[in-house]
Amino acid sequence: MTLHDCRDAFAQTLCDLAEQDHRIVAVVNDSVGSSKLGEFQQHFPDRLINVGIAEQAMVGVAAGLAAGGRIPFVSAASCFLTARAMEQIKVDVAYSGHHVILCGQSPGVAYGELGPTHHSPEDLAWLRAIPGLAVVVPADPAETAAAVRWAAAYDGPAFLRISRMGVPDVFPDGIEFQPGVSSTLREGRDVGIICMGTTVAPTLAAAHILAAEGVEASVISMSSLAPLDREAIVAVACRTRGLVTVEEAYVSGLGGAVAEVVVEHCPVPMRRVGLRDVAPTGSTSWLMHRAGIAPDAIASAAREVIGHR
């Protein structure tokens, strides 16, 4: 199975769009290489605005560019972009209604051994609390490209979570991203498993394990964390015996969002798989396994939630 770095699809799509639309600019914090924007810089040197290591000003500058008629894609490591510039994201971008696309690169535990200072398991919980900000977590290159195309055309603030972690193809090339619409990747009546981004592939593998035991799982990819596909969550909660959420983030992100809907509309047993504490030192794959983001552990959570031992 070939694994892909979603930054490649991000950077290529942005270059293609910039070729067609002169309004598109990139704003970075010395993050050209880590965002894979070298080709963009080569083709559009005036439109690659590197502010240096200055995240607060980076987001403010992007808001000013948007006010001046440009379409800025801010691209920076998610840990620095979201934590350092949160007030600018809240006020200059979201509250101000600017068409700024915040691209959180290498989020979650993608930076592995670099440690908790470089991880961003908080970003989904933080950002979903901000009204009016679309929060999108693509699962593979096709969905990443679709999310970038959508965000360029969407006249409002958006956050795209772009991973460097190797992921297999899940979606066909050329799909369209729709905000607030989830994708049902597998139908099953016993348990619903809701995932996003890097957790989609291990969740599909978990569904295969469960199927071999006679447990049929629905698998839903919730790439649009905000706006949230509440109808799909209620529907899968009502027609199965329990839900599992799987995210490469603190479980207050996707897990928290799904739980809020379930508690209000269709209470069912739930398990939230994801990070719950500050990670110790370790590789990305080791950290993913430690958090239970692996086929066997996801299958166990599913069995547990429906009382199937």
Binding site: V25, D46, R47, I49, V51, G52, A54, Q56, A57, M58, V59, G60, V61, A62, A63, G64, L65, A66, A67, G68, G69, R70, P72, E87, Q88, V91, D92, Y95, S96, G97
Partner: protein
């Protein structure tokens, strides 16, 4: 580029702006009248004597970074005919477009939503870069408080602007010397502010921030040094020209009583 306005007319306009502001703050029972009165002459000079808001080549932009002086901005916009006079009565009322801090989504001529300090200058840098990409000569003006220059984001933006040679960008620092609780010097001193700005690559001038003629001459003649952004340190007095408010920190956000308002009104009218 506007023809230069008559300083005496600007002074008369500033009196009207302060009187409206005083009425708004007194009626609403809230505001930041000290910082509003210190920045009024700067705002009046910009909107009535400097800004070109109609150019086909891209209009000038003006960001009030010290958003707590919102009432002074609204009152100035009304004076400039950019906001209906009757809207001022809605200041901070439920669902009003006239928030306690300016919101760009609610009022056409508010270019940026401000309030948290240290946001306006980075936004102005982005506006100036956008104008340059468009090949426009439009200018971007950002008005900050002086206490606000304690924010690190401003110094990030100062570096970026100088590095990129944004000489159509102007920051005007309302140097009233006071912040919410005490003087700037006692809290975390900025001096030598001019030297700091110069060392960051900016062209720097100082001016009496209540002298409309001097403000207009400086603000209309940018860039002062080709290739460098311009910083105008405008020496002002918080609460100016009201005797009992002037240079008193408590008037950062105190609301005048009826008797104080009457005295203040008389002093503004005779200023």
């Amino acid at each position: 580029m506007n023809a230069l306005a008559d300083p005496a007319e600007l002074a008369e306009a500033a009196r009207r702006v302060r009187l409206r502001d005083l009425g708004m703050v007194t009626d609403a029972g809230m505001g930041h009248i000290g910082g509003e009165f210190s920045v009024t002459d700067i705002l009046v000079t910009l909107y009535l004597g400097v800004l070109d808001l109609e150019s086909d080549d891209g209009r000038d932009r003006m960001v009030l970074s010290k958003g707590h002086a919102a009432a002074a901005l609204y009152s100035t916009l009304a004076e400039a005919g950019l906001l209906p006079e009757e809207d001022l009565a809605t200041f901070v009322q439920p669902e009003s477009a006239l928030n306690g801090h300016p919101a760009r989504t609610k009022l056409e001529w508010v270019e940026a939503s401000t309030g948290p300090l240290g946001h306006g200058l980075p936004i102005g840098v982005g506006m100036a870069i956008a104008a340059r990409l468009d090949g426009s000569d439009a200018r971007t003006y950002v008005v900050t408080g002086d206490g606000e220059m304690q924010e690190g984001s401003n110094w990030e933006a100062l570096m970026i602007a100088a590095h990129r040679g944004l000489d159509r960008l102007v920051v005007i620092i309302d140097r009233n010397g006071l912040q919410q609780g005490a003087s700037v010097a006692e809290t975390s001193d900025l001096e030598p502010l001019g030297d700091k700005l110069r060392s960051f690559g900016w062209a720097v001038r100082e001016v009496d921030g209540h002298d409309h003629g001097a403000l207009q001459a400086a603000l209309s003649s940018v860039p002062w040094v080709p290739g460098r952004p311009s910083a105008l340190i405008a020496r002002t007095h918080k609460g100016h020209p009201v005797s009992f408010m002037s240079d008193v920190p408590a008037w950062h956000h105190r609301v005048p009583s009826a008797a104080e308002a009457a005295t203040a009104r008389a002093e503004v009218e005779s200023s």
